[in-house]
Symmetry: C2
Subunit: 145 residues, 2 copies
């Protein structure tokens, strides 16, 4: 959509996985957790409630479809969903697959452990998961390499 | 709704503020932040994605209405919305009004500071805010005292 520019923090930490009708989907490049963000491509938006009623409904339906998919793909114990954005003010909704064995469990993940980037091979495999998953209204990013 | 019983952690920490059609609304008794939870009254539900498509849509519309209301009532700088539940597995969606001057800013609030209960007078005033607010499909709890 016009005038939407990804915030530099998300540009730095995220790897494009694909797009829903409203939201761009990034993988956060931290191999401690399967951690994704949905970013509605609406300029100048910081809080969920700033979306129109229709956009808000669409965001959360995309969240539902995506959350179901990642809990299945990554076989998680618990899904964490959050819109915080106190430090990165562009609206982004975290979707994190949690395991009782993960390094931050049962605490929230933010600020717990340094980010540990994936290898190129790991990133390729995660991208391929989404290329083969059939998600409603989701267009997977093209896998490179 | 039948068979729904509030989790003891939420019973202990929460003060009833009112009910939407789907969700019970509690104030968390911690005066560090205006901190509320929406709890869909559906038994045996832990993750947002376990709700039916219709229930999920309703929860998030209630979140939108409630989030707009509390950001106005409490004049916040940022709204934090989150479904975590790693420790308290009954589905509850945090709605926290954040200020750049609050004790945890800009970090997420969980685990940052000991809970500081409100006085009875403070609780009465917060309940009264919701009694006088006109929120779509929201029934405020009756104020005592």
């Amino acid at each position: 959509m016009s005038n939407f520019v990804l915030h530099p923090d998300l540009e730095r930490d995220g790897v494009l996985i694909g797009n829903f009708q409203l939201s761009r989907v990034l993988l956060i490049n931290d191999s401690n957790y399967p951690w994704f963000v949905l970013i509605p491509e609406i300029p100048d938006t910081s809080d969920t409630i700033e979306l129109s009623k229709i956009e808000h409904e669409r965001l959360w339906e995309e969240s539902r479809i995506f959350g179901l998919a990642i809990m299945k793909l990554f076989n998680g114990d618990k899904l964490n969903v959050a819109s915080l954005g106190n430090m990165t003010p562009q609206l982004h909704v975290h979707h994190i697959v949690r395991y009782q064995s993960d390094p931050a469990w049962p605490a929230p993940i933010w600020g717990k452990h340094p980010m540990t980037p994936y290898s190129e091979l790991q990133l390729k495999r995660i991208r391929e998961l989404f290329t083969s998953a059939e998600l409603d209204n989701f267009t997977a990013a093209i896998c490179n390499g």
